[in-house]
Amino acid sequence: MSGTWHVDTDLLERYVSSRLDPVTSMSIETHLTRCERCRNTLPREDAWLSRSWAAIEDTIGRPRLTVIERTLRRLGVPEHMARLLAATPMLSRAWLLGVAAVLTFAVAAAHWAPAHPAALLPFLVAAPVSPLVGVAIAYAPRIDAAHEMLAATPMAGSRLLLVRTGAVLVTATPLAAATMPFLPAPPVVTVAWLCPGLALVTACLALSVRVPVRTAAPLLVVAWLIGVFAAGQFTGDRLLPFQPPAQMVYGTTAAVLAVFVYLRRSRLDAGGTR
């Protein structure tokens, strides 16, 4: 058909204005793919065509959304922020599995001797540390391999640190919360890890005003473990660091340090002086 026959003007006009039946339209489209002469007679708008190509290219070339990204988008997080959070380097499978394994172990330990007064201790000690470890490894050279390139971007420093810390908190907190129903204790007791967790993360940010995050976080983990152990040894009550008075201290500390971090945010930047 494409050898000798060509689309006449009347037929072409009706095709362009979509006044043909589907079968004839398809037949003409098949012919157009093979016949340059007829293609050249088609009226076209170059600006529309380039816009259309750009849109097609954008759709085809767009990176595939991850599960985290899709969830964040459904929760109303802007597209670029969802991408930034989802691509946060420490939200790797290894870290998530590590946190899940530690918490599972802590829950299992609680069930090993449920009647013991300190049965919850492994969970209460481990849960506040998991976000802290996440923040630390977010800045480990092997995980944040591109740190030198990222440090020269406008979002480097306090903005990127806070985004990553937020990403860790919103991931680690539900993970720890999900294990709480499996603990042999009422929710009011099992939630006692939350305030120390928050205080440790804000303390890490505050310390990073003076030392790198990857140094501050391990220091705090060690200090936390020594503090909990020492409190138990000296008072004979191993759960003392999780009692209501201690919770008040953690809450106040977190609030004060959050203000401190806000005021010193310019120092959370490798390009600024510490």
Binding site: A54, E57, D58, G61, R62, P63, P78, E79, H80, R83, L84, A87, P89, S92, P141, D144, A145, A146, H147, E148, M149, L150, A151, A152, T153, P154, M155, A156, G157, L160, R265, S266, D269, A270, G271, G272, T273, R274
Partner: protein, 285 residues
């Protein structure tokens, strides 16, 4: 010369090592090359200019902005592109995903515009057909081009490139030179390299550094001219001085004329080696 970047009395110390010691320099539009041996202070200087490292002392102004101030540093970062000496990668990302991530950190929030920009820089470095390839599957040269692509995002006014030609094959190096010379027509490009050929081919100005100090500042032709009358060639092996055997089997000597040697045309590499050697002699004296 219009000054776009200036450093004054810049000092940086790492423990007992002082890679920069009171360095003062001005840079203008065009391509400026930093030459120098390892430990000369090139990378430290470029990191300070790229705002990823704070100096101990001294002032830096980038595109008229004082980068010691947080707000002005952020503004400077909006207008510069940086290729570090050892660009690390999130190897689980594809080339497109990495650039998309960095484009977001460069505050490109509109997805369509951002993706268009990512495609543009991928095409600039000839990696358009590798957009969906995971970085762990890219060769060393491709990764280097990808690192260059991220520096080009947002068409920055200042490009800071630390050893950008490392890992590139000769053809890629030619393409790179064409790209950089085009970019240098309308912006400030500062690059460090060990390759004197890159400097000769690309740079309007060359600064040779040694031990945190400038030992030569001028044109590539000026660096070459500094070796005039100090380059010799002989069939006999010289007894002293800085010399090496060429592919033609002759001995090329820099400095004092060895017995029986003939004068030879100097190259930029001769000028560079002599600039370093002269500074050593001056220091020793």
């Amino acid at each position: 010369m219009t000054t776009t970047v200036s450093v004054h009395e810049l000092t940086k110390t790492f423990g007992r090592v002082k890679p920069l010691d009171g360095l003062s320099l001005d840079f203008g539009p065009g391509v400026t090359g930093l030459l120098g041996p390892n430990g000369a202070g090139k990378t430290t200087l470029l990191r300070c200019l790229a705002t990823t490292l704070a100096p101990d002392r001294g002032d830096i102004r980038v595109l008229g902005l004082d980068i010691a101030d947080r707000e002005q540093r952020t503004e400077a970062r909006r207008r510069l592109g940086y290729l570090p000496q050892e660009p690390g990668f999130f190897t689980r990302f594809t080339a497109f995903e990495l650039l998309d991530y960095i484009a977001i950190l460069k505050e490109m929030t509109d997805r369509r515009h951002r993706h268009g920009e990512v495609r543009r820089v991928l095409a600039e470095v000839d990696l358009a057909d590798r957009a969906t390839t995971r970085i762990r599957k890219l060769s060393g040269g491709m990764r280097q081009r990808l690192a260059l692509a991220q520096a080009l995002l947002g068409e920055p006014e200042l490009l800071v490139l630390d050893e950008p030609t490392v890992g590139l094959d000769p053809e890629q190096r030619m393409r790179f030179r064409a790209l950089i010379s085009r970019l240098g027509e309308s912006r400030t490009v500062l690059l460090s390299t060990h390759q004197t050929e890159d400097v000769a081919a690309l740079c309007e100005r060359v600064i040779t550094m040694k031990d945190g100090q400038v030992v030569f500042d001028g044109t590539p032709a000026g660096l070459t001219a500094g070796a005039a009358g100090l380059v010799w060639q002989s069939a006999e092996r010289p007894h002293a001085g800085l010399f090496w055997r060429t592919s033609e089997g002759m001995y090329r000597t820099l400095g004092q004329r060895p017995a029986g040697a003939e004068p030879a045309d100097p190259t930029i590499e001769d000028g560079y080696l002599l600039a370093l050697d002269t500074s050593s002699t001056a220091t020793a004296a």
